[in-house]
């Protein structure tokens, strides 16, 4: 049986190569990485909150992340996820050590994918992620557009 660190090392290598190839354009390219996990689970909900909570429940129950909290801001466009004890944290730490800013969050991707599939969100993506390896915590800010009309509704996400 292999330790999860084996898979994190593989992912880190892949992401480094990908960044080296595409620079900042590597970020949007990985929006589908991680989505398969929750596609195989029964996620339920009629509202964005219900779907996110259902996703979080599965992610924590399966031990991918120890604790996740979320909040929605900015006209419903900003989804902020705070994750503690994610199994992918060592991958992010290694990337940072190697001089690549972490850019791919499979956990956020899988949650966003459920918003598209179940609630027909028009567009979703990871807009920013900050890794604090001392705290063992990641803060991921995601853009979630329920419909086309949401595009262009701006607000302050920096101080959220």
């Amino acid at each position: 049986m292999y330790d999860v660190s084996y898979f994190n090392d593989l992912l880190a290598r892949m992401e480094e190569i990908f960044f080296h190839e595409l620079s900042e354009c590597s970020k949007p390219k990985v929006e589908l990485v991680g989505i398969d996990f929750l596609r195989s689970k029964k996620i339920e909900g009629d509202t964005v909150e219900q779907v996110i909570e259902s996703c979080i429940g599965h992610v924590m129950k399966e031990g991918l992340v120890k604790d996740i909290s979320y909040s929605i801001h900015g006209f419903g466009i900003l989804l902020k996820l705070v994750m503690k004890g994610c199994i992918h944290l060592p991958k992010e730490v290694r990337l940072e050590e190697d001089g690549v800013e972490p850019y791919s969050c499979p956990i956020a991707n899988m949650i966003l994918d459920r918003l598209v599939e179940l609630l027909h969100y028009h567009g979703v993506y990871v807009a920013a992620m900050k890794v604090d390896h001392h705290k063992g915590e990641c803060v991921v800010k995601c853009a979630i557009y329920e419909n086309v009309e949401k595009i262009g509704q701006v607000s302050d996400w920096v101080n959220v």
Partner: protein, 219 residues
């Protein structure tokens, strides 16, 4: 053989076009220029979809507008867009320019370009597809400029896998991830006026090193 530096150095990305159509002979020349681009192992992985149909162009413009709008709305909210426009001192004008960006309107122009060419790359068995396609696009841009046309390379809609899939479905491109890659669309048309704000280029001494990285003295 003539020096084409004048053509290269006077080319600009043109996003505003008149409604005047482009003659077929000019389109053929642009396509011919694409065909002569260099490619790794001479594999020539490009497939070019020529779009003139107004409805399809409208949909391409919408995909581009929405793609840019989604990305730039978040960039603005995160404070990442503002530094790019610090040079505009008038606050109202600066906000207006940024709104043009985050609304996505800045990328809607494929809808009003009389000609859009979608640049698609074959993947299987190829070695350098994205780079080959980039050379192919540059050839088309230069040829168009030499003919007096304006053109613009639009990469944004092809960046996000979900958006790229929309493009593929619209144009009936096989959607298998190992088959074809949509790299970009290129818009063409007769320029509607001159660009108000030509984009500056970096100085040669800021981009060139001699013999080794970082060495600025000419060898």
């Amino acid at each position: 053989m003539g020096d084409i530096l004048d053509v290269i150095s006077t080319r600009q990305s043109i996003r505003r076009y008149t409604s005047e159509p482009i003659p077929d002979e000019m389109i053929d020349k642009i396509l011919e220029a694409a065909r002569w681009a260099p490619s790794g192992e001479n594999e020539q992985p490009w497939k070019l979809i020529v779009v003139r149909d107004p409805e399809t162009r409208h949909q391409l413009g919408e995909i581009a507008r929405q793609g840019t709008g989604q990305r730039v709305t978040a960039e603005y909210c995160l404070g990442q867009l503002q530094p790019r426009f610090e040079g505009i001192k008038d606050v109202e004008q600066r906000e207006s320019v940024m709104k043009f960006m985050y609304s996505g309107e800045v990328s809607k122009f494929p809808a009003t370009a009389p000609l859009v060419i979608i640049v698609v790359g074959e993947l299987k068995g190829m070695f350098d597809t994205p780079y080959d396609l980039s050379a192919c696009i540059e050839n088309m841009l230069l040829e168009a400029h030499s003919l007096g046309l304006g053109a613009c390379w639009v990469h944004g809609p092809a960046v996000y896998p979900r958006t790229a899939e929309k493009l593929k479905k619209l144009l009936k491109i096989p959607t298998g991830i190992g088959q074809y890659k949509v790299l970009a669309m290129v818009t063409f048309g007769w320029p509607d006026g001159k660009r108000k704000h030509p984009r500056p280029k970096k100085n040669i001494e800021d981009i060139v090193y001699w013999e080794e990285f970082g060495r600025k003295e000419r060898s």
